[in-house]
Each structure stands twice: as structure tokens, then as C-alpha cells.
């Protein structure tokens, strides 16, 4: 009996009120059991086939299933006996955890297991510094920290159980501003570790000489805010153990190899016992690059012997996943009468939030790119990244590049205005050229900054008086 026969049987037991569509064709997916394979051709890309790219409309091999609503994202998956997990969030920026009482939650019908930081075999992880707990131990470092997790037969019961968990805190004074965090007298967020946990300096030429030769010197400070990736699909993972002590984890995680190492560490299980299956991802943008719920569901699954799923709520996406680093950016630029930049010093203070995550990469990239695409002989750029008791920052598209771009281009506009030079012209006078040296001394090739600027100006009709015509 083939699939269609089964369906006919099924459709016979439901009353068919209207034909599927105007042609009277049967609906492709009956309400009861969504089909997976379809007679509709799926698009299979041909490997190694060279296709013209420029000016072509790009279609995607997964487009058809997306449009049909048949792509299976992780939240569309269910395993028999699966439980639903929810994580209780601290809601306080900095505190000592005195007592976590889960007994009332455990008594609730439908609650199968509860875990706290004490149940995590090794309660720290991170892509570089291992400063992030799976669930809070003795300390809460930001309001989005998890303090306990519940697995229950429904999501609703799990959410209600969180209300029954009581946590006693001794509140501590939080550090909420990166510039305050930078101060030597400020108590360490992760004392005894210092608040500055990353530092980079780039030097080129002699800035003092450059400033001395300058016609004018401009100084300005810029700040950017915290940004969340907001993937449409929330973070989610499902864990299940087999009889031989191997754990399989389905997850929205992008960097599964790294996640596997973090899981081996936090669960204290050899990597060979951990299998990670990355599911079709509904948006990442850098926000799904490290583990979040994975060790929690693995522990709950182990404790209950059942598959456990945890999906972030939208508020959790904002408070308990990584964000883009806010940066305080101080610029000082010396220029000639004609607007040629002779020297530039930059100080960047990146706000790391509670944990390091991908701060080191972001710090380096922001620092290297901070002078902008300009041919500047004398540069001194210094960048720090500091802890605060706020949502952690991490990877996000551009790794620090958009923040510094906002600063150096705003600065450029201010200088152009003060010197009464057209904003396009001042950029053309300073833009990197073929063979220019980058801030780190790399000789650049295929440099098209000027051509790009000129073409763009022509395309949108830049008239030279600061307005597009």
C-alpha cells in the first residue's frame, strides 16, 4: 500500500466539506498527518557546476520546503516521551546566591526533574575564557543568568514550576557602565580577576609628530548601544541519552564542533560520547555560536531518562543570549588645511557584559579597523574590553566593524564641516590607495575605495553641497 492509499483512508474518516481548491485537487497535506516527501520536485543543486552569478536572481535549494512550511526546524521536532524544560532567570544583576529551594516545584504533578548549578559537573565554559556558568553557582553575574531548570510534561507546567522555586540572594552593587568598570578602584565583576580582560594596541608612525605638524586637531567621543540579533527562530535544543551513556543533542547551534568541546567539559563526558546534530537554523547572525540550553537539557535528560527540549522565550533571547558589544570610542585626529589626516589616536572601550564569549575576536577586529579606510601615516589605536553586570556580548555580524565605522565616519563628517570641505572630497583625499599600508602595516592590493565612492556618488547624484540631487 503506498502513501496515497493511506491518506485516502484517513481522509475518508474526516468529513470533506470543501474541495481542496478550485480544480478540486486534493490538498497536498491533510490536516492530520503532514507529508514529508511530495511528488513536487525538490531542487537538488548540481555539485561543482559553475553558474553565472552577477545579475542573476539567486534561488535556494531549500526554498520550496520553506514556502510549503515543510522545513523542519528544531521546534517542529518531537520525540516520544519528550519533556519540556524551562530555566528560571535571576532577575538581579549581581548577587550572591544564598539558597535555592526547589522542593515545592519538585512536588508539583507533572514536574519530573529539577537541576541547579550544583548539578553541573563542571560549571564553566566559553569559547576563549571559561568564565560562564551553565546555571548560577554561588554568584549571579547578570540578570539573565539561569539559577535552576525544570523538566515537566508540558511547557505550561514547567513555566508554573519556575514560580515555585525560591531563591535567596544577597544583592551586590552591580557594575553597569564600561567606563566605570575600567576604573582601577571598581570592584571586579569576576574578582579576583580584573575587569579588563582583553587589551590591544596598534601603533604606526609617530602620532606626536603628526599632531605637531597639524593645522587643526579634532576630538570627539562616540558610543554605540547593545544590539540583539533577534533571529526569528529562538534558541532551542533537545537532548537524549542512550543505554550506553551516549548523548545526542539536536540544537540550533552554529558552531557544533566548539559546542561539543564545551559540552564535554561541562558534562564531564568524553567528546566521543557526544553527538551533536545541527538542525536547519532560522537565523543566526552570530548569536547562535555558543551553547546556551544544551548542557541543561542534557543534564535533565540524564536525570529523567527521557528526551528533553528547551526553547528560549523571546524575552530570554534578549536577556540570556549574546548581544553586540556597545563601544565607547574616543577619536583625536590631526589634519592639514586641505583635510589630509596626519595623525589619529583612538581609544575603544568595549563593554563585554558578564562573560567573555567572542570578545577577543571583536576587540581585535574593532581595533584594527578603527582608523577607517584612510591612508594615515601616524596611528595609535588602543582597545580594552571590560566586564559589566549586563547581558553578555559576543559574536555579531561584523565583529566590531559596524561600531567603529559609525565613529570614524561621523568624525569625518564633523571634520569636513569644520573645514568647509565637501564630505565626499575629504574622503577622496584620504582614502586608501593601491599599495597603501594598513594600520597594521600590511600592504594593500586591489584597493577600490575611491572608485567605489565616486561610483556611488554618481549613482545617487551627489551634488557636492551635502545633499543628493
Amino acid at each position: 500500500m503506498d502513501r496515497h492509499d493511506t491518506e485516502d483512508k484517513k481522509s475518508a474518516v474526516v468529513e470533506r466539506k470543501t474541495p481542496g481548491d478550485a480544480l478540486g485537487e486534493m490538498l497536498r497535506a491533510p490536516a492530520a498527518a503532514p507529508l514529508v516527501p511530495t511528488p513536487l520536485e525538490t531542487l537538488v543543486p548540481e555539485a561543482r557546476q559553475q553558474t553565472p552569478a552577477v545579475r542573476q536572481r539567486a534561488t535556494r535549494p531549500d526554498a520550496r520546503l520553506h514556502g510549503l512550511g515543510q522545513t523542519k526546524y528544531i521546534d517542529d521536532m518531537y520525540f516520544p516521551g519528550m519533556l519540556y524544560a524551562k530555566i528560571k532567570r535571576a532577575g538581579i544583576a549581581s548577587a550572591r546566591v544564598l539558597r535555592v529551594d526547589t522542593s515545592e516545584a519538585e512536588k508539583m504533578p507533572g514536574v519530573i526533574a529539577v537541576v541547579t548549578g550544583r548539578d553541573v559537573p563542571c560549571n564553566s565554559f566559553g569559547p576563549s575564557l571559561k568564565d560562564q556558568p551553565v546555571l548560577a553557582g554561588e554568584r549571579v553575574f547578570h540578570a539573565g543568568d539561569g539559577v535552576a531548570a525544570v523538566a515537566a510534561v508540558t511547557e505550561q507546567i514547567a513555566a508554573e514550576a519556575l514560580e515555585k522555586i525560591t531563591v535567596e540572594y544577597e544583592p551586590l552593587t552591580p557594575v553597569l557602565d564600561p567606563l566605570v568598570s575600567l576604573g582601577l578602584e571598581t570592584p571586579g565583576v569576576h574578582a579576583p580577576s580584573p575587569n579588563i580582560y582583553g587589551h590591544k594596541v596598534i601603533k604606526k608612525g609617530d602620532v606626536e609628530k603628526g599632531f605637531a605638524a597639524s593645522h587643526r586637531i579634532f576630538e570627539a567621543s562616540y558610543r554605540t548601544q547593545m544590539v540583539e540579533h533577534v533571529p526569528l527562530e529562538p534558541h532551542c535544543s533537545i537532548a537524549m541519552w542512550d543505554a550506553n551513556g551516549r548523548v545526542t543533542i539536536y540544537t540550533t547551534l552554529g558552531r557544533i564542533t566548539l559546542g561539543r568541546a564545551d559540552l564535554a567539559r561541562t558534562l564531564a563526558v568524553p567528546m566521543s560520547r557526544i553527538r551533536i546534530i545541527a538542525t536547519v537554523v532560522g537565523g543566526n547572525f552570530g548569536g547562535k555560536n555558543e551553547i546556551t540550553t544544551e548542557p541543561v537539557v542534557a543534564l535533565l535528560a540524564k536525570k529523567t531518562g527521557r528526551p528533553v527540549k528547551c526553547t528560549y522565550t523571546r524575552p530570554e533571547e534578549f536577556i540570556s543570549s549574546t548581544t553586540r558589544h556597545p563601544i565607547v570610542m574616543d577619536y583625536k585626529t590631526g589634519v592639514t588645511k586641505e583635510g589630509r589626516i596626519l595623525a589619529r589616536t583612538i581609544r575603544l572601550v568595549l563593554e563585554g557584559g558578564a562573560y567573555c564569549s567572542w570578545s577577543e575576536t571583536t576587540l581585535a577586529k574593532a581595533c584594527i579597523l578603527s582608523p577607517g579606510p584612510y591612508d594615515i601615516e601616524n596611528i595609535h589605536a588602543e582597545a580594552f574590553v571590560v566586564y559589566t553586570n549586563k547581558t553578555m556580548t559576543g559574536a555579531m555580524r561584523g565583529f566590531g566593524a559596524p561600531q567603529v565605522c559609525f565613529a570614524y565616519e561621523s568624525h569625518m563628517d564633523d571634520i569636513a564641516k569644520a573645514l568647509d570641505i565637501d564630505p565626499l572630497e575629504i574622503r577622496l583625499r584620504n582614502a586608501l590607495r593601491e599599495g597603501s599600508l594598513s594600520p597594521t602595516g600590511q600592504q594593500l592590493q586591489s584597493v577600490v575605495v575611491r572608485d567605489t565612492l565616486l561610483q556611488a556618488a554618481q549613482r545617487f547624484g551627489w551634488s557636492g553641497d551635502g545633499a543628493a540631487s
Binding site: K17, E25, L27, A32, L40, R57, G69
Partner: protein, 162 residues
């Protein structure tokens, strides 16, 4: 438990659910129709959009019991065994979706619009999609696809491909 009887993609269906169950959870968990997505559960993102009695609705904001006796169409109700819905076809041809998570909701909003207004202006399309957030695409190719479907529906020659 509350009993809900509704017409779902043309079939009359019944389920018994806790009274707090949303229409979205009824569709996804009781009927296994996972095409409608949960992006926020509070009516902000539109990933859960379905059509109820001809109107696009955030199914996360509607209780299952409120759908009792009504006609519900989900993304699974558009294609037939042999044919994609024109919106699905054009979204594919124009590369309108990237990660796809917002796609079912966007397509349902677009369908509700075209059913009511076969000749929408670009602004009307934008208004119809105002409740659907997409984080990947920037919307322009979705709007192109919807305009193309509207043109085809009115029997106007399709503009050159691309």
C-alpha cells in the same frame, strides 16, 4: 478541557484541549501542522500567521476555543498534490526567503491581502506585511514576488524574469 471543532484547510476537525491553548499550539501540537511558527508568542513577529474566516490572524494571540466553528487555512492548505500556490512558486523563483522561518507567516499575510485586493499598490503590500518580521531578507524580494503574483492573477504579462 475544551472541545474545538473547526474547518481546517477544508476538513472539519475536532480536538479537546486545555482552555488556555492557543490556536497556534492547537495547530502545531494537536494537528501536527508545524508550518505555522512560534517566534514570540505575543503577537509581535507574525511567524504564526494563519487565515481565519478570510482574515490574517496571529494564531499565537487567538485561543483555540475562539476558532471554534470557524474556517482556518494554514500554510499547509495552499499547495495541492500537483501544484504550488502561485505565492509559493514566486517566493521560490524570486529567492524571497533565506532562513525561511518567517516564510509561512509572510505568505499567509500575502494571501489574505490578495484574496481581498487583487491589485494592491506597493504601499498596500507593505502595510499587509507590517505585522510580519523578517530578520534575513529586507523584504524587497517578497514584495516583488507578491507584485508578480498579483500581475499574473490579473492576467498581465509577467515582467521579464529576474
Amino acid at each position: 478541557m475544551a472541545t474545538v471543532t473547526l474547518t481546517l484547510n477544508g476538513d472539519v476537525r475536532t480536538a479537546s484541549v486545555p482552555p488556555e491553548t492557543t490556536l497556534l499550539r492547537l495547530l502545531r501540537e494537536e494537528f501536527g501542522l508545524t508550518g505555522s511558527k512560534l517566534g514570540c508568542d505575543v503577537g509581535d513577529c507574525g511567524a504564526c500567521t494563519v487565515i481565519v474566516d478570510g482574515k490574517s490572524v496571529n494564531s499565537c494571540l487567538m485561543l483555540a476555543v475562539q476558532a471554534d466553528g470557524r474556517d482556518v487555512v494554514t500554510i499547509e492548505g495552499l499547495a495541492t498534490m500537483s501544484r504550488l500556490h502561485p505565492l509559493q512558486q514566486l517566493f521560490e523563483d524570486k529567492g524571497s526567503l533565506q532562513c525561511g522561518f518567517c516564510g509561512p507567516g509572510v505568505i499567509m499575510s500575502a494571501k489574505a491581502l490578495l484574496d481581498e485586493n487583487p491589485d494592491p499598490s506597493e504601499q498596500e503590500i507593505r502595510d499587509a506585511l507590517a505585522g510580519n518580521l523578517c530578520r534575513c531578507t529586507g523584504y524587497s524580494k517578497m514584495i516583488e514576488a507578491i507584485q508578480a503574483v498579483a500581475r499574473d492573477g490579473r492576467g498581465e504579462p509577467a515582467k521579464s524574469a529576474v
